[in-house]
Symmetry: C2
Subunit: 500 residues, 2 copies
C-alpha cells in the first residue's frame, strides 16, 4: 500500500508540475508576451492542458485510488495522506467526466479570446469580443452538461471554484445580504459625502510602486520567493510554494488603486507561500478554494489596509513620499477618503459597501447566460440595465461596463461569486482573530504583522487544500458562511465615517 501511495504521489507530482507550467504560460501571457505570440500560445495551452488532463484522468490513477480505499480507512481521516487521497478522488471523479478534446479546445479558445478582449476593451467595442464570448459560453454550457443531471446548470461551474457549494446556497446568501447592503448604501447616500479629491492628483508611479513594496514587505511578502510585475488586470499565481508572484497596476493620477491592489494580491500570495512544504507537489498544495483565497486577499486589502491603525503607522511615511499632495490632508481625512462610499462602474475599484452589489449583478447575468435566458449579443444592454438597477448608474461605454473584467475571456464562469463570499469569510475569520489577538490594533499601529500572519498560517495557510472550504470555515469559526459579521463590520465602520 505504501508503494501504491508513493506511485500515486509520483504521478500527481508530475501532474502538478504540468499545472504549474500552465500557470507560467498564463503569467507570461498577461505580463510580457508580445501580441503576436497569442497564436503560438494557444497551441501551448491546448497541448499542455490536454496532457495534464490526460495524466490526471489516467487509468492508472483510477486504479491506484480504488486500491488505496481500504488503506485510507485505517488512516487518521485528518492525516495528510487520507486527505490527499480524498481530494484526489474527488478531483478524479470530476475530471473523468470531461473529455480531453474539450479541455484542449477550451484552453485554445480562451487563450485567443484574451487577446480579443484586450483589443475590444481598448476600443470599447463589444462586437470584437462577442464571437469569442459566444464560443466560451457555449463551451461552458457543454462543460456543465458533462455533469448532468444537476440541480442547476450553473452548479458544475461553481463547483470548479468553490467545491461543495451549490447555486442555491449562493443565491440564499446573496438574497439575505442584498437588502442589507442596499439599505446601508442608501443610508450613506443621505449623509454628507466625504472628500477624496486629494487622491485624484498626480502621484509618481514609481514612488507608488515603491510604497507598495515597502508595505507588503512588512506584511511578510517574501521577495526571495516572489516578485511583482505589472499587469492590466492584477492577479497572483504560483509555480510552487517557492515561487509565488503578484502583479499590480499603477494609475499615475489616482492614489487609491496601486497600493490596495498590491496589498490584495499580497494577501493571496501569503496564503500560497504559507502552505506546509510537506504538501509540495500534491493537489493539496494550494488554497482551499477561491472564496477562502479571497478571504485572505480582502483581509489584507481592507481589514488591514483600509483600517485606521494601519494608516496610523503608514500615513506619515506616505506623506513623506508625497509631501506636496498630502501635507495638508489629516490622517482622519485620509482615512475617510480611502473609505469613501460611492456607487461606481468598476468592480475592482468599488468600496466595501458597494462591492458585493457588483458581484450579485454578475451572478445574475452568468446564471441567465448559462440557463439560456440571455444571449451574448444582448449582454451590453442587459449589463447597463442591471447597473442602473443595482447601483443607479449607466456606464458611459462598454469598456467601463460589460468589458471591464478579464474573467469571461478566460472562461472563468462560476468565479465571481467567490469574491463576495470571500468578503463574508474574511470577517468571520477576523472576529476570531480579534478574540485570539486582543491587541491586534496596537500591533498594526506599530507596523507589526507577525502575529497576524502567524495566526493565518497556523489556522488557514498551512493546511492548503486539506480541508474542504466549508469545512475549514466551520472548523475555524464554528459556523458556516454567514453574512452577519460582514454586515456588522460595514455598519460599524461606516456609522463612524458617515455618522449614520
Amino acid at each position: 500500500m505504501e508503494q501504491k501511495l508513493a506511485e500515486l504521489k509520483t504521478i500527481l507530482g508530475e501532474v502538478m508540475d504540468l499545472e504549474k507550467v500552465i500557470g507560467l504560460l498564463g503569467w507570461d501571457q498577461q505580463t510580457y508576451m508580445p501580441p503576436g505570440g497569442a497564436e503560438d500560445r494557444s497551441y501551448h495551452m491546448a497541448t499542455m492542458g490536454s496532457l495534464a488532463h490526460e495524466m490526471y484522468t489516467s487509468d492508472r490513477i483510477g486504479e491506484l485510488l480504488e486500491q488505496l480505499k481500504p488503506f485510507v480507512e485505517q488512516l487518521d481521516p485528518d492525516s495528510d495522506d487520507a486527505r490527499l487521497i480524498k481530494v484526489t478522488t474527488q478531483n478524479y471523479k470530476k475530471k473523468v467526466k470531461v473529455p480531453t478534446e474539450w479541455v484542449g479546445e477550451f484552453a485554445s479558445v480562451t487563450t485567443l479570446a484574451q487577446g480579443k478582449w484586450v483589443e475590444a476593451r481598448a476600443e470599447s467595442d463589444f462586437e470584437k469580443f462577442r464571437p469569442s464570448l459566444e464560443r466560451i459560453v457555449e463551451l461552458c454550457r457543454r462543460y456543465a452538461d458533462f455533469f448532468a443531471p444537476y440541480e442547476h446548470v450553473y452548479d458544475p461551474l461553481l463547483d470548479v471554484y468553490e467545491p461543495g457549494l451549490r447555486t442555491a446556497n449562493v443565491k440564499g446568501i446573496f438574497e439575505a445580504l442584498r437588502p442589507q447592503q442596499v439599505e446601508l448604501v442608501q443610508a450613506i447616500k443621505g449623509r454628507p459625502q466625504v472628500d477624496d479629491s486629494f487622491l485624484h492628483q498626480h502621484f509618481d508611479p514609481q514612488v507608488q510602486w515603491d510604497f507598495g513594496v515597502e508595505a507588503i514587505t512588512k506584511m511578510g511578502y517574501d521577495w526571495k520567493h516572489g516578485r511583482q510585475d505589472k499587469a492590466a488586470h492584477p492577479f497572483t499565481t504560483n509555480f510552487g510554494i517557492g515561487d509565488v508572484r503578484i502583479t499590480t497596476r499603477v494609475m499615475p493620477d489616482y492614489l487609491g488603486s496601486a497600493f490596495f491592489s498590491t496589498a490584495h494580491e499580497c494577501g493571496h500570495a501569503l496564503y500560497e507561500m504559507g502552505v506546509d512544504p510537506k504538501l509540495a507537489r500534491t493537489p493539496l498544495a494550494q488554497g482551499a478554494s477561491f472564496a477562502l483565497h479571497e478571504s485572505q486577499s480582502r483581509l489584507w486589502e481592507n481589514l488591514v489596509g483600509r483600517s485606521y491603525p494601519f494608516w496610523e503607522h503608514f500615513y506619515p511615511r506616505l506623506q513623506e513620499l508625497f509631501p506636496s499632495q498630502l501635507a495638508n490632508v489629516s490622517l482622519q481625512n485620509f482615512y475617510k477618503g480611502i473609505n469613501k462610499v460611492e456607487p461606481s462602474f468598476i468592480r475592482v475599484e468599488a468600496d466595501e459597501a458597494t462591492y458585493n452589489l457588483h458581484i450579485m449583478l454578475r451572478l445574475e447575468i452568468e446564471l441567465e447566460l448559462m440557463d439560456g435566458s440571455l444571449e451574448v449579443r444582448h449582454l451590453p444592454e442587459t449589463w447597463n440595465t442591471r447597473m442602473a438597477e443595482y447601483l443607479g448608474l449607466t456606464p458611459p461605454n462598454d469598456a467601463k461596463g460589460v468589458l471591464q473584467d478579464v474573467h469571461w475571456s478566460s472562461g472563468y464562469f462560476g468565479y465571481f461569486s467567490t469574491y463576495a463570499l470571500g468578503n463574508l469569510v474574511s470577517l468571520q475569520l477576523w472576529d476570531v482573530i480579534r478574540r485570539d489577538l486582543p491587541d491586534l490594533d496596537d500591533q498594526i499601529r506599530q507596523g507589526e504583522f507577525g502575529n497576524l500572519l502567524g495566526w493565518l498560517r497556523e489556522n488557514i495557510h498551512r493546511h492548503g487544500q486539506k480541508f474542504e472550504p466549508q469545512e475549514l470555515v466551520q472548523r475555524v469559526t464554528g459556523s458556516k458562511i454567514d453574512p452577519a459579521p460582514y454586515m456588522r463590520y460595514l455598519t460599524n465602520k461606516y456609522s463612524q465615517i458617515y455618522q449614520l
Copy 2:
C-alpha cells in the same frame, strides 16, 4: 500515407509545443524567476523534459517513420515533407538511444546548477560550483556513451549542436585557423594601439537601451512578435515563429557592450522570425544549427554593426544621444575604438581578432574533460594556464576566468565551437551577399537593411532546419566551412585600422 503523415505532424506539433514551453521555463529562469523558485523549476524542467523526450521517442513515431519510408522515396527530396521526415528520422534515431531517466536527471541537475553558477560567479568562488559541474560532466560523458562506439567521445556532444560535424573536422579547421589568428594578433601588437578610452565613460543605461532598440528596429526586428529583456548572459529564444525574444545587458560605464549584444541577439532573432510559416510547429521550424545561427548573429553584430558604413548612418544619432561623451570623438576614431584589438579575459567582450582564440581554449578544455584527462577540480588552474598560452593573460579571479560563461552550468558541452564556426560561415555568406548586392555599403550607409534581410530570408532563414548545416553552407556558398574568407576579412579590416 497522407493520413500517416498527418498523424506524424500532429504528434510532432505537440512535441514542439512542449519544447517551446520548456523554452519559456528557461527564459523565465534567466530573466524574472526569483532565486527561491529554482527548486520548483528543477521539477518542472525534469517533468517537461522527460515528457517531451517520451513523446518524441514514442513507438508510434517510430512506426510512422518506418511506414512512411516508401512514401518519402516518391517525394521530391527537397520538399518540405521529405525533409521533415528525414530530419525527424535522424532526431528519432538519436533520441531513442537516450533513456528518459537521463533526460529528467539532466534537466533537473542543470536547472539547479545555474543558480549555483550565478552564486559562484558573484563570489568568484569556483568551489561553490564544482560539485554541480562534476555531476554535469559525468552526465555528459554518460550521454556520449549512449552513442558508443564513436570516433571521439566528444562527437555525440558536438552533434547535438552541429549535426553531421565531427570533432576531427573542427580540430582540423581550428588547426588551420589558429596560427593565422595568432600571427594577426602579433602583427597588431607591433603597431600603435588605437584609443577607445571614450567608450569607458558613464552612458545612461536607458539611453543605451533605447539606442539599441532604435537600431534593431531599422534592422527589421519585429516588436509585435518579440520583446527585449535584461539577462545576466544575453540570449535569444522563441516560443514559435510568432514570439521570438531577445535579452541584453547594459553596462553603465562602457558603451561597447549593450548595443553589440542587442545587435547580436537581433541577428539570432531575425533568423527565427524568418522561418517559413508553413514549417510552424514542426522540427524544421528553427535555425539549421548553432553555427548557422551564430553566422547570423555575428553578421549583424560585426559585419554590419562594427562596419564603417553602419556608423556613417548611426554615429550622428549616437552623438546626439551622448553629446558630452562623444562630441569630440570623430567618426573615424569611434570606428577604430569599437574595433580595437586587445587580448582580454571575457569571451563575449572579445574583439573579432582574438575571439576565436577564446573558443579554441574552451574546445581543448572540453575535450580533456570528456576524455578524462582533465578533472573538474583542476579546471581553474588549467584555465589560467591556457589563457596565458593563448592570450598572454592571467585572469585576476575565477569570475573573469573559468566561471565567466553560463554554458557549462546549463550542460552545454559541445556548444562553444559553433561560435567560431559561425564567424567563419558569416564571412562565407558575406562574400556571396556582396556579390549579389553590390551596393550593400551604400544601403547600410542609408540605414537601409531591407535588401540584406531579404537576401538572408530567401537564402537562409525561410528554410529553417530543412537542410543540414553543411549542406546549406555548400548550397549557398558553393563551399564547405572554410576559414579563408574570415581571415581575409580580418586582415583587410585590421590592415586599414592598424596600418599593418
